[in-house]
């Protein structure tokens, strides 16, 4: 509302996810890989293993080229992206944590210097000094994780910071998920240090490969096995997260399955490779290395997607409360605009120059401010999927109760008149304000009654919730299947709020009528 909204049909959320997922692939390796390098270097000196040492040099060069350039620049990329997609949230974070970032920057700067020195001075520095530089690298890299973790976990669980009475840097930083999230990220960093061994091991002579595969397993497997424990801790301190991954938000549930599935798969594959490579070192090859990294990537990328989706409807906050909704409004601001209007308060909408707008044009502007944060018109999470072939009245009812629909949306932040304008605009997107076809996607599948109820009725009704608007159960009290069948065909006559909602498909009508009758009979 305060900042212009970037109109992007790819979807801002998807763009953030894409950039974040690329960065995270390298950022954890940048931490764990540092520890791996020093420990392996020390081991190579202790055991006098020249072959190991010569591999380490190549691995360190690969490491430096990947983390210094790709890691650092893609990190900057995340920052650019969130600034464009969520300027209000970025501004808030920067106001709270500028000095946190400044501290992270100190570590970042030491990290970069140390990586450059480490990778290029194997011959120039004596061994203890070279190892010391490696330790400096790891210390700085780990500390930058320690810092950024405070800011990232804050976005999900702002905790006591939310209360103006206890609002401080410390409360925001050491928030409820700070520690579990740090443990998780550290484990991921160690696991990735192991997986990345396979990124370069396949180029080594055959007799070296089995040893490297065992190192990889030694690093990746224990950290991976400890992962579930840390994840449980994390989910326990994260309000609502459990429900989310159990299915309350389908995309998050899917992403969580991706995390688990990929972790199990790379764990098994890596264990097998480590065991079998003793006999057949040739299996430590490029395809296997690529597969392992890809699976690792799937699991950490999935975790990033979970993290992105469990905060809804907030960007800073979680389902149980937050500071800033995805649409860039604070709950207090949304409260105010519900009373006195969203468009008068919004800055970057048409009409500020005094140009008169039609109702539908106003509706388009309301969409820009209130919905663009998550929806596009026809691209990613297209709003048209949800409103096409629905009459304006039905859309208006849905807009009025957004926070009760699927999708964990914030409550509609505008007046009734603005809801009407929005519905008018949305209703016209398909070129017909009052569709002749009955509601429901054409050719909708006849699913079970429960799914039909969700699809056809629960957009506008709650089932029972006495407080929620428009509970359905009392309305269908005493209905038999026959009565229900009859009424479903003429909902629009029962109440004008259901204009266009008549259920005309014969099979749907029958299934739903039967289900309604059982509902009516319950309790």
């Amino acid at each position: 509302m305060n900042y212009p909204v970037w109109q992007l049909e790819l979807g801002g959320g998807l763009l953030i996810a894409l950039v974040a997922v690329t960065h995270v692939f390298v950022s954890h390796f940048a931490v764990g890989g540092g520890l791996f390098l020093v420990l392996a270097e020390r081991r190579a000196y202790r055991t006098g293993d020249a072959a190991l040492l010569s591999w380490l040099r190549r691995h360190a060069k690969f490491f430096a080229l990947l983390t210094l350039v790709f890691g650092a620049v893609s990190g900057v990329g995340i920052w650019f992206t969130i600034g464009l997609v969520h300027p209000a949230a970025t501004s808030s974070l920067i106001h709270i944590f500028v000095w946190g970032w400044a501290i992270e920057w100190v570590f970042f700067f030491v990290e970069i210097a140390a990586a450059v020195v480490y990778a290029s001075t194997w011959d120039r520095l004596d061994r203890p000094t070279h190892v010391a530089v490696g330790w400096i690298y790891f210390g700085a890299a780990f500390m930058s994780l320690v810092i950024i973790n405070g800011i990232l976990s804050f976005m999900f669980t702002p905790g006591d910071w939310l209360d103006p009475a206890t609002r401080s840097f410390g409360h925001g930083f050491f928030n409820p998920t700070y520690w579990p999230s740090l443990v998780l990220r550290t484990l991921a960093a160690v696991a990735f240090a192991g997986l990345y061994v396979l990124a370069t091991a396949w180029r080594e002579p055959l007799r070296e490969r089995s040893k490297l595969a065992r190192y990889a397993a030694l690093w990746a497997l224990p950290a991976t096995l400890a992962g579930p424990l840390a994840a449980v801790l994390y989910l326990k301190s994260a309000p609502g997260a459990l429900e989310v991954i159990r299915g309350a938000v389908p995309a998050a549930a899917l992403a969580f399955r991706l995390v688990v599935g990929c972790a199990v798969a790379y764990g098994l594959l890596l264990a097998a490779v480590a065991l079998l490579s003793r006999r057949r070192p040739g299996i430590v090859n490029l395809p296997v290395g690529a597969a392992l990294l890809l699976l690792g990537y799937g699991s950490i990328g999935g975790a990033e997607l979970v993290r992105e989706s469990i905060r809804k409807p907030f960007v800073i906050g979680n389902p149980s409360g937050g500071y800033l909704y995805v649409n860039g409004l604070t709950p207090a601001e949304a409260e105010a605009t519900r009373a006195s209007g969203l468009l008068p308060a919004a800055r970057w909408v048409k009409g500020k120059d005094g140009a008169p707008l039609t109702e539908a044009e106003r509706g388009a502007e309301v969409f820009r401010v209130a919905c663009r944060g998550c929806h596009t018109v026809g691209g990613y999470r297209a709003i048209r999927r949800f409103v096409d072939h629905k009459p304006v009245a039905a859309i208006a009812t849905m807009v009025g109760r957004l926070d009760k629909l699927r999708g964990r949306m914030p409550p509609f932040p505008g007046t009734a008149e603005e809801a009407h304008d929005l519905a008018l605009w949305l209703g016209g997107l398909d070129g017909e304000l009052e569709p002749q076809e009955p509601a429901g996607a054409p050719g909708a599948k006849v699913a079970d009654g429960k799914a039909l109820l969700q699809d056809k009725c629960l957009a506008c009704h709650d089932l029972d919730d006495p407080k929620g608007s428009n509970p359905l159960r009392p309305k269908v009290k005493g209905w038999s299947a026959a009565v229900a069948y009859e009424n479903l065909g003429k909902l629009s006559q029962l109440n004008a709020g259901m204009t266009g909602m008549d259920v005309t498909d014969e099979r749907e009508r029958k299934v739903l009528a039967g289900y309604l009758a059982t509902l009516a009979a319950e309790k």
Binding site: Y3, P4, V5, W6, Q7, L8, L65, L68, V69, F70, A72, V73, S74, V76, W79, F80, T81, G83, L84, P87, T90, S91, I94, H95, I96, F97, V98, W99, G100, W101, A102, I103, W105, V106, F107, F108, F109, V110, I112, A113, A114, V116, V117, T121, D123, R124, L125, D126, R127, V133, I136, A140, F169, R347, W348, K350, K352, D353, G354, A355
Partner: protein
């Protein structure tokens, strides 16, 4: 219909430090950024000049040296740039975010371009012996990518300063496809920056030559290439500066023509310094030992950079008058965290200093 000046409101969360402190860090970081950034960009140019004359041993050696060091300059430019951007956003967020959303696509492309340029520099550094032809081609592409980055930056930095145009632009096209091409200051400002970078990096070339001369090697040609290049680029800078001044909106131009001592002073001083710098550099190749003169020219150049930054700040303040009032921002300084930051900064600089010292120690005898 009126053209409304629409600017986002100042963030409701107070600043975590007083404005003056944030300004001080912004300026410091920018100074630390401008130098490596210029060497990175201008150095890319000189590496191409040298690389194009293959077969000439002096030029081969120069190309080699520049190529080896450019990735490190890039690392320094990126690292200091991140810090600058951080402080820029906290102070100028309202106009910064608005302008960056208007040009979201070009702005985001900076990430890809920078990565391409950075990897391109590394590629040349690592492959120039094995495959000089490819190294030259990739180096040229990397230079082009970084040049494009600089162009996008100048677009954003000038668009930020024109909040009166933002609303119209946004309403006309909210898809983030804008640049700031219609701004008359865009081209002179960008060229001023690019030619300045070529000049500064020319000094680096002269420096490499002067050090070679000291060691008794043949560095004369490098000295004269770098110093003359520096002098010519600086003369061109002066002309571009005049163009830039003429292109500024009248109220901003007036600052430099006596309107404000804080702007006119630096301008006069920088004109004087520029003149003496050109003379110094032009005569530099004839000296017995050119190194002190190169260092003196670098000192001059650094002083001019500082003056330019002061003038830039004067333009910014005037351009944002009435649109963004830093004085109105509330601050709730986090002194404890600031103290921690300063302590860690000192420790961090010390650590990096220690590592560099290790590098200067004579190479260790190979261990058994």
């Amino acid at each position: 219909m009126t053209d409304p000046i629409v600017v986002p409101a100042i963030d409701a969360i107070p600043l975590p430090a007083p404005v003056w402190l944030l300004q001080a860090f912004l300026t410091l970081c920018f100074v630390l950024h401008v130098v490596p950034m210029s060497v990175m960009l201008g150095g890319g140019f000189w590496a191409l000049v040298a690389g194009a004359r293959r077969g000439d041993p002096a030029m081969d050696a120069l190309a080699h040296r520049l190529a080896k060091w450019l990735p490190y300059w890039t690392a320094a430019a990126v690292t200091t740039g991140v810090a600058t951007l951080l402080f820029l956003q906290v102070l100028y967020g309202p106009v910064f975010y608005a302008a960056s959303v208007l040009m979201a696509r070009p702005w985001l492309s900076v990430v890809a371009l920078l990565m391409a340029g950075y990897y391109g520099y590394y590629f040349r550094a690592l492959r120039q012996d094995r495959n000089p032809r490819a190294a030259l081609a990739v180096g040229a592409a990397a230079f082009a990518a970084l040049l494009a980055v600089s162009f996008v930056y100048t677009n954003l930095m000038t668009l930020m300063l024109a909040p009166a145009r933002h609303y119209r632009m946004y309403v006309a096209d909210p898809t983030g496809a804008w640049l700031n091409l219609s701004d008359p200051t865009l081209l002179p400002r960008w060229l001023h920056m690019v030619i300045g970078a070529v000049a500064l990096a020319g000094l680096w070339v002269a420096f490499l030559g002067a050090r070679a001369v000291r060691r008794g090697e043949d560095g004369r040609r490098l000295v004269s290439l770098g110093a003359r290049g520096f002098a010519l680029a600086t003369a061109l800078e002066a002309a571009l500066g005049g163009w830039f001044l003429g292109a500024l909106p009248a109220p901003q131009r007036a600052l430099f023509l006596g309107g404000s001592p804080a702007a006119t002073g630096p301008l006069l001083l920088s004109v004087l310094l520029t003149a003496s710098m050109i003379l110094l550099a032009w005569r530099l190749p004839r000296r017995e030992d050119p190194l002190p003169a190169v260092v003196a020219a670098a000192g001059h150049a650094l002083a001019v950079v500082l003056l330019m930054i002061a003038m830039r700040a004067a333009v910014r303040t005037e351009a944002l008058r009435g649109a963004l009032d830093l004085g109105a921002m509330r601050a709730a300084p986090q002194w404890g965290v600031i103290g921690l930051f300063v302590a860690l900064l000192v420790a961090g600089l010390g650590t990096v200093g220690w590592m560099l010292l290790q590098l200067r120690r004579p190479a260790a005898a190979p261990e058994s």
